[in-house]
Amino acid sequence: MNTGIGLKAQHMAEILETRPALGFLEIHAENYMGDGGAPHRWLSAIAEHYPLSVHGVGLSLGGAQPLDLDHLEKLASLVEQYEPRLVSEHLAWSVMGGHYLNDLLPIPYDEESLALVAAHVEQVQDRLGRQILIENPAVYVAFDGTLAEPQFLAELARRTGCGLLLDVNNIYVSHHNVGLEIEPYLDTLPRQAVGEIHLAGHHVRRIGDAEIRIDDHGSAVCTEVWDLYRQAVARFGAVPALIERDSDIPALSVLLEEVETADRIRREEGARHVSAA
């Protein structure tokens, strides 16, 4: 699959009219959990022409409390209805005491968290009857833990058979914010586990003399993140990549330029693989 973009309401008509060469379109599952109406009408039309990816933000897989089964059922119906090529969720939590925070909160990387997330991932995969991909978070705080993030993800994949959604912007953001080590990150992840890559922009906020990088998906992918993408393609091959933009959404043509850049990098790395072989 070629590179895809996140599906936004303001682009739907243009996508259906002009049919740009997109590998797939990704939706936030929760935006399509209504019973009917325009969102489903548009999505059904899009699904006739493009593969879909369903990206959940609300399951709270890292939550210490049991999963919301109603929410899991809604996700399952959506997946049954649209038969997406990819289904993904986050290594994060967002629900506590019956309240949903609509944020992707970090977890400590230790055995307690690993057992919990693994049980939740298995529960979701059992219900959906398919593999899901788990995305690495962008974080602003870190906890003392016994495992490094890529080790945690590698072990999660090994225990549950889940795939990984590698967000290279999140690696970069977490590297700056809490010193997540970039160098062994990609090499620590099992080669065959990565099933999708996310590319997004972030913004830099100053706090005193220091900088913190906020993962707002509101700007173009930066050079350093493109470099990380190139390294990821070199290691994981031509897995589907996504240009993710959730705020300050530009014209479709702007996103299509980023799609072209991602496709070009993939072709170049693919050619290098062939010549090296």
Binding site: E30, N31, M33, G34, D35, G36, G37, A38, P39, H40, R41, V57, G58, L59, S60, G63, A64, Q65, D68, D70, H71, K74, W93, S94, V95, M96, G97, G98, H99, Y100, L101, N102, D103, L105, I107, P108, E112, S113, L116, Y140, V141, A142, F143, D144, N177, V178, I207, G208, D209, A210, I212, I214
Partner: protein
């Protein structure tokens, strides 16, 4: 209680403004450049933004009526008092009209709460299940003696909104780019509204008090005959033949069952 559960309880309380971030500073890794409390505040801000934005999407006219800054303040206060119960936020804000009605700083806009109810009804109808409406000729297949006992089910997307203010005119005026282009007569009287989506478009239909009572009775699964009685109780001049055919022409009904 597990260590993780306790940690998450405290972070959730911090995110919802019920615990100061300083109280959690010892839980996260120390960093001299940026204090832990300020890092944690990013999560609190993200939660607020992540829950106020869906409210702004559901209540755009309320936001226009009070201004963006006031709306975000009020919505933020609502979020802290009524965090959502589920991760699907399309229906978030069920308690918002009541909250707005009791919000002291908003009391100068007396129709604000009714507008919130109208927008909530609109969003409900927008996301409601798709269902073809009954065609106007649907009643023709019933004999006259069956009609009395007929149960006519309104479209499942239907919500009722009654207000002492002309909320429909206010709502319509705020659908235009740049806001209303003329003054609205607030003394124009109240509105009885049916909000529903029989096909692609979400409709707001103003009806007479009699028709409002009539459709409410039908929605409560009363028979046609009983519904007429309800309508006549509020409006002695209720003309069932004319009103019923107008409602049929407006695609209001989804099902007719002879009982």
């Amino acid at each position: 209680m597990s260590r993780l559960l306790e940690l998450q309880r405290r972070i959730a309380a911090m995110s919802l403004g019920r615990l100061e971030p300083e109280a959690l500073a010892g839980e996260v890794r120390d960093d001299r450049a940026i204090p832990a409390a300020q890092r944690l505040m990013i999560y609190r801000n993200n939660t607020l933004l992540g829950l106020v934005d869906p409210l702004a999407a559901t209540f755009p006219v309320v936001a226009q009526l009070v201004g963006e800054d006031f709306f975000r303040q009020m919505a933020g206060d609502f979020v802290r008092a009524h965090p959502p119960r589920r991760a699907e936020l399309l229906a978030y804000g069920q308690e918002f009209p009541g909250f707005v009605a009791d919000y002291p700083a908003a009391s100068s806009v007396p129709y604000l709460s009714d507008m919130a109810r109208l927008e909530l009804a609109w969003t409900f109808a927008y996301n409601a299940p798709d269902r073809d409406p009954l065609p106007p000729q649907a009643l023709a297949r019933f004999a006259a003696d069956q009609l009395e006992r007929l149960r006519l089910t309104p479209h499942p997307s239907l919500r009722f909104v009654a207000s002492n203010w002309p909320v429909m005119a206010i709502w319509q005026a705020h659908q235009m780019e740049g806001g209303p282009d003329g003054a609205i007569d607030l003394d124009a009287g109240g509105d009885m509204l049916l909000v529903y989506r029989p096909r692609q478009d979400t409709l707001i239909r103003k009806v007479s008090p009699g028709a409002f009572a009539y459709v409410m009775a039908l929605a409560a699964r009363q028979s046609l005959a009983a519904a007429v009685t309800s309508a006549l109780a509020v409006d002695p001049d209720f003309n069932v033949t004319g009103e019923l055919s107008a409602l049929f022409a407006a695609d209001l009904f989804a099902e007719a069952i002879s009982s």
